[in-house]
Structures are given as C-alpha cells and as structure tokens.
C-alpha cells in the first residue's frame, strides 16, 4: 500500500470509527450495570451485531496503520520493527475474525 493511500484510508477509517466508538462505549457502559440476559437481548438486534463487527474490522485496520507509524518512529532496529509489524498485522486480523465468529454463531 503506498503512503498516500495509507494516509487517506487512515483518515476515512477515523471518520467511520468516531460515531461507532461513541455508540459502543455508551452501550458498554449501560450494559455494565445490567445482567447477562439484558446483554444477550441487546445483541439480538442484528443492527447492533453488524455495527459491532464493523467497529472491530475498521478499528483494527486503523490500529494496524497507527501501530506501523508508531513502530516506525520509535523502533530503530529493523529486524525488531519487522517482527513488531507482523505481530500488529496478526493481532489486527485475528481479533475481528474472532469477534465475527462469536457474534454470529455464539450470541
């Protein structure tokens, strides 16, 4: 991915994430005082399930680009930087995939 495209996608993902994050935090805080049944009931709404999945997919995409930038600035050893970038890539693929599976099949 070239730098300009990366830069633009980073901004676009930020714009998508801002409202989603506000919504998810608000829901999470409300549900943190309620019981199991109410949390399950919350995710019976397919819209909320889809929004959560989008948040994790776009969120970890945003995180991956951000982590690459941070590693670029602070890690000077090229080998360590490459390993760190690979770990960031794995984290940002695995987490949303697990969330996708959990929300679609388990809840």
């Amino acid at each position: 991915m070239n730098a300009t495209r990366k830069w633009i996608l980073h901004r676009i993902s930020a714009i998508i994430l801002a409202p989603l994050f506000v919504w998810l935090y608000f829901s999470f805080l409300s549900l943190s005082k309620k019981n199991y049944q109410e949390a399950i009931y919350f995710f019976e709404n397919p819209l909320f399930t889809i929004l959560t999945i989008i948040l994790f997919l776009v969120g970890f995409f945003h995180i991956k680009i951000s982590l690459n930038e941070i590693f670029e600035d602070y890690i000077h050893n090229k080998k360590i930087k490459d390993v760190a970038n690979i770990l960031a890539l794995i984290l940002s693929i695995i987490t949303p995939v697990i969330i996708l599976i959990l929300l679609i099949y388990k809840i």
Binding site: A18, L24, F26, S30, N35, Y36, I40, I98
Partner: protein, 128 residues
Amino acid sequence: MKDNQNPISPHLQIYRWHISSLLSITHRISGVVNLLALILIFFWLLTLSIGENNYELFLLAINSFFGKFILIGFTWSMCFHVLSGVRHLAWDMGYGFEIKTANISGIIIIISSLVVTIIFWLLGRGLV
C-alpha cells in the same frame, strides 16, 4: 574540535512543554489506550458468548473499584482521542494552523474531553 555548546534539541529533560506537543503525544498514548479498551470489550463479548457464569465474573471485575477506575480512564481516553482526532482532521483540511487558534482549540479539547467523560459516565451508567 571543542565540545559543541549548542543545545541538543528536542531534549526531553529540558524541553518546555507546549499545549501542541502535550496534545500530540497524548493523542498517541490515548490511541494505544483505546487499543487496550478494545481488547477489554473483546473480552466482554468473549465472556458473554461463553456463558452466564463467566459473564457474571466479568461484570464483578469491571464493577469493582479498580474496574470502575479503568472504565473511567478508558472513557476519557476515547473522548480525548475522538475530539483530538477531529482537530487533526481539521488540520489535514488546512484549517486552524495559526499558533493562537491551535492553542485555543487545544485547551477546548482538554476541557471538553473531561466534560464529555463526566456526561458519558453519568448517562451511560444511569446515574442521572
């Protein structure tokens, strides 16, 4: 050659903090904290899908004193990162670069992130 007496810049121990630099590094740190928050939300969904007993345990943990402390911190981190992100987007479009404007928008973001955190917490936790 004699020792060069020129100051080494930017040198963190003698660096005078400005609102711009403070907010710049806080934006990064809050971003990393948001990653931790997202991982906590990941565990929230994980325990929710594993079953009621695990979920009750998770609720117990986040409703403890330490848990609430973490939740408030995560909420502030999210509010700050979103607000500061809007400021960055304005800069990306070429607005607000004057030193005075940047300082004022910085102060607005610090104060509003605290206010929004309080509102969020009160409404979200049903305390109002």
